[in-house]
Symmetry: C2
Subunit: 662 residues, 2 copies
């Protein structure tokens, strides 16, 4: 602590504090975009058991755009239908359900349960695939200095942070190893519970740091350091909200039970209380149970006594509620207890130099399975923006959209959580048997789009160009700026392979011009595409094409803007070489860009590729439309194929023009 | 070589020589079944580029049963349609096609192209997941001794092999590092061409062997040591057949071409010659080109002069054939040249103690994309049989089925290859333009089932109980002993998750009783299931149940025979707990076997799960049927739900009864 004179000093463009789901997501972008970055975490290893487990549809789409959704799908447990058990007329528990979301087919993916530790592993693997960026573990940030005078100079390093390598003793302390982690987990399951690549991380936890302390100067700081965020405190941003009087126990077990729906998502409510049942991977089931209500009347700000809550106590509670069904377990993977609170920071950023993401700025109950999703999507949102600004590709003005986009959603999350928790913790059977179920379904419906991430509600900004008519260009148009590009499975013109747009619109750091080219077999339509291509090829005036005027990411060759064409003519009646050269993206070494032309036509050997993309997008199959899709797959701008001015305006606002000859 | 006195001596149940695709497949079973085994290879690393690349449908189903098909699907390139280019009436090349197999939807998977090196990596990862078995590299077998007198004693070690660790100099010699590997590969692509987990293998190629030589005594030996198999020579098994006069060049490149179908599977034939085009992963395309014909008339047994064939020469050949289209490349990943021959060993085994698999016993032209598939399926076939016999689970009599099953298929392969090569190498344009295409399509159709592995033609044996009526029990029945269990996507009764039977019938070393329970909502049918369950539960007499009488794999708890029930009643009208206890497989620690009851019902959120499994199997939805599926997913026996005698007879023939109290 007093060795400042021995501390080394170094510079980095981006420093990320905290390597949980949100920090890793931000780090993915640094790795992918070639940003000079560091990421530190105080814990000596990543998470292995317990913690978050719910993965919502939009999160899975993001995973697909990164490239590891197939691993989640292989290991995770899908839950689509939900069941609500309530006492029937005779007092015995009866099932209401299964209920299924009406939006269940709006994404190729379905809500999935998988341990947070696996997700962290997958993101780490993706980071490794693209760069040498490594999480530096067992390190804390000790002091913070911010020079406000430098905030408007994009080349300046206004942030100074002192890092310190923890000693082995410090690492063993509960505040580092995690207060919420298991206190008395059943033995015999630890090893079988981990996948082999987890183990390697655990074994290789050695910290090979050269110095005990280090001064880092950074252009940008992203604080992803959890509910007790050190970073947030440095920039004096408070958390607003309060704890409720609800205390919950949560336990991950392999059940031994004759309850019919122990492997199905749902709730059980009766006079004895309520349980939320969440089936998981590897035969695990997670149970959430309200275990105690702090008597606020007699004890104003009582914090509950965690030591009174044990796995045994949670088990007895579950047994009482499930009666007459039996319940027991021999294997407990993880458990904890917590007091529910809803808290949010009034802002998620300081001067667009320091950003906060995930639990550092919003905490809430974990039962709705949204926490990890919101956190990862925070990190995913700020990550590409900081990465593109730090590399000189994007206009620093886009940074303000982080707070605008994510704070609003966090407020919606807390609102959702308040409703959901409320319904949950009315600790009594519903009147008339069905009342509770109905009110739950109402809430679920209300928040369905939001919860699954099918809608993002991102407002107008330098990154979202809203249309005058919010419904879009044509009646029934579903391509809305500020919302994700709705996934569709397409055929590649050149080779006939099928792929979801979530993979095609890969998270590689580039904005994309997506040309829905319509029916290119029609002469008039073909002419429209040719006119657009002339413009894109720069044949309508020097430096007029947006495909070549902007800065390219470091180490990348090719265009700063990726162009993807999706036509609606029959696959067999169209040829890759029918399309204008500029859409086929020639490279001296790699040849033609065979992955650039796609077709919305049915494929007889792939049912998901049904040729109904244009219908799903609400776009006329003849006339098409074009759009700019942001690096995170949200739609930035939509316009007719002739609206090259609108497209250029959007891009000029977001990106920085390359300096000629540089 | 003269250090015999320093050689250590050790025992192993199974020694595998050669860690290519067939050897690794055999090793997978050793790892999965807990067999004491060793696997050696003379090369210091696995393959990284080039070699085989074609993965047929049945191979992909096997990968799914092992658990890595999702990785192949993520990285590989699917080819379904094929195009044949021939000169049209005006002499210019025209496309015939695309042609698509009529069987394209008989499997969840489609023929895929992916480098052999990745496949080896995936199998290695699976081996690592289940055991500590590691490939010992840079090691050769030097001497072999076989004591015929011990062949009938299952506990004896009749095989003695002396191993030697190669010196660095030896490893660098062409005979070890691979004569067919690249001689002058373009630089700059080596690294980008490898995936990160490949690199690790390359870096960790250190050979940490304690001794220079070692004597190993083994119960069984599996020789997977390629076309020049050392093992085959030790047991005096010849190769029968001959080289043809056809010489081919093959080149893996990233094409720069305006040929419309350069990214599509197909052929181009004209007066200048013929090309086979195979699109691959990572923008690669493989081209096979006949480059030279050895004049047999003047030079009886001429071996071609490989040095005369260069990438440049292959390129010029392609350019001439593709005219007027352009062709060039800057990146060449791998290339080679070879003389086509069809050779087969008259037997694949010696005394059912030494087995030979893959190229060691059959070689042929690589163009049909079958070589790696046949080899892996050889290894997959012999692997489980040796593993179960070595662990005392299965009757040694099953070992003879390896030669019976695989030799017949290898003969079919050579027959296929002769036809295919013939059509290919008629080095002239087809008469009438379409004649060639038509004759090709005929061959393709003829061998379609065989090539894709949809049919295996395994004959009657202790492992395949043929029905009197080869058509099956009921008209239209498609469950044929000796053929694979046709894949269907089902819903899990307990949680509603969907899964392909290729995953459900996991390759874990167990035989499976698959009960197609029919409509269990019907009282009569329910009674039939209950009667069967009484029998299975052993309630009809002591030790009468086949579920408990056989030996269990080492380290396994639970049943030697896995029971999977698949009913046809509506998912929502059926409960997991409706089924008899014996079908729900209770375990004291893990609770009920929620993965044991499946339902053939349509799922609204998964199009592949269409509720038409019984129709596909040709099984009556009311009455059902039952079958024994072998560990490799081939059907061993089929019978009515009452035919417990038939089932028991089959199992008694294949498995060894456990010694009570042992």
């Amino acid at each position: 602590m007093t060795e400042d004179n021995h501390a080394s000093e170094s510079h980095t463009d981006v420093l990320i504090i905290g390597a949980g789901p949100s920090g890793l997501m931000a780090a993915y972008w640094m790795s992918r975009c070639g940003v000079r970055a560091r990421i530190i975490d105080k814990k000596p290893t990543k998470v292995f058991t317990g913690q978050a487990d719910g993965l919502r549809v939009r999160t899975l789409e993001i995973f697909d755009s990164i490239g590891f959704q197939h691993r989640v799908q292989h290991e995770g447990h899908v839950t689509v239908e939900a069941n609500f058990w309530v006492p029937g007329p005779d007092g015995n528990l009866i099932r209401q359900g299964p209920f299924c979301s009406s939006k269940v087919n709006e994404s190729p993916f379905h809500n999935t349960l998988l341990n947070q530790g696996r997700i962290e592993q997958f993101i780490l693997d993706s980071i490794k695939e693209h760069s040498g960026l490594k999480v530096e573990r067992g390190i804390i940030a000790e002091s913070f200095d911010y020079d406000e005078n430098l905030k408007d100079d994009p080349d300046a390093y206004p942030i100074t942070v002192k890092l310190r390598t923890l000693s082995d003793e410090e690492i063993k302390s509960p505040s580092v190893s995690g207060g919420g982690s298991p206190q008395a987990v059943q033995s015999g399951f630890d090893r079988s519970n981990l996948v082999s690549d987890d183990w390697e991380d655990l074994v290789q936890k050695s910290r090979s740091h050269q110095t005990k302390t280090e001064i880092i100067k950074a252009k940008y700081l992203i604080g992803c350091d959890g509910a007790h965020s050190w970073t947030r405190k440095q920039v004096d941003i408070p958390m607003v909200g309060s704890s409720t009087d609800h205390i919950w126990g949560v336990i991950d077990i392999i059940p031994i039970s004759n309850f019919p729906d122990i492997r199905r998502l749902g709730t059980v409510t009766n006079a004895a209380g309520m349980i939320l049942i969440i089936p998981r991977e590897r035969q695990l089931v997670r149970l959430y149970v309200p275990v105690q209500v702090v008597d606020k009347a007699t004890n104003g700000d009582a914090r509950f006594d965690r030591s009174s809550i044990t796995p045994e106590m949670i088990k007895e509670r579950v047994q009482a509620i499930l009666k007459p069904y039996t319940f027991d377990y021999k294997i407990c993977d993880w458990w904890t207890a917590y007091q529910i609170g809803q808290r949010i920071a009034p802002t998620f950023a300081k001067d667009d130099r320091v950003f906060l993401a995930g639990d550092a700025v919003h905490t809430h109950s974990p039962k709705v399975g949204l926490g990890m999703n919101m956190s990862m999507q925070d990190g995913f949102n700020i990550g590409w923006k900081v990465a593109l600004v730090a590399t000189g590709v994007a206009n620093p003005a886009i940074l303000s959209t982080y707070n605008a986009e994510r704070h609003h959603l966090a407020e919606m999350l807390l609102d959702f959580d308040r409703h959901w928790s409320g319904v949950f913790t009315e600790n009594k059977p519903p009147e008339g048997g069905l009342g509770k179920t109905e009110s739950m379904m109402k809430i679920v419906e209300l928040f369905e789009d939001f919860a699954d991430g099918l809608k993002a509600f991102y407002g107008a900004s330098p990154l979202v160009c809203k249309l005058d008519n919010e419904q879009g260009l044509i009646p029934g148009h579903h391509l809305v700026p500020g919302e994700r590009f709705p996934p569709v499975k397409l055929r590649k013109q050149a080779d006939g392979n099928t792929q979801w747009t979530t993979r095609i619109l890969e998270s590689d750091g580039r904005f994309r011009l997506v040309i829905l080219a319509g029916n290119v077999c029609d002469a008039t339509q073909k002419q429209r595409i040719e006119t657009l291509s002339h413009f894109l090829a720069g044949q309508l005036g020097e430096n007029a094409s947006p495909l070549s005027r902007y800065t390219v990411l470091p180490g990348r060759s090719g265009r700063p803007i990726d162009v993807v064409t999706i036509h609606s003519a029959p696959w067999k009646e169209t040829e890759f070489f029918d399309f204008p050269e500029i859409l086929r993206d020639f490279d001296d070494t790699m040849g033609w860009g065979y992955g650039k032309i796609w077709c919305d036509d049915a494929c007889i050997w792939d049912r998901d590729c049904d040729g109904k993309g244009y219908e799903r997008w609400g776009v006329d199959r003849m006339r098409g439309v074009m759009l700019i899709v942001r690096p995170d797959q949200y739609i930035g701008w939509v316009g007719e194929l002739e609206d090259t001015d609108g497209m250029t305006r959007y891009l000029d606002g977001a990106l920085i023009k390359a300096v000629p000859g540089k």
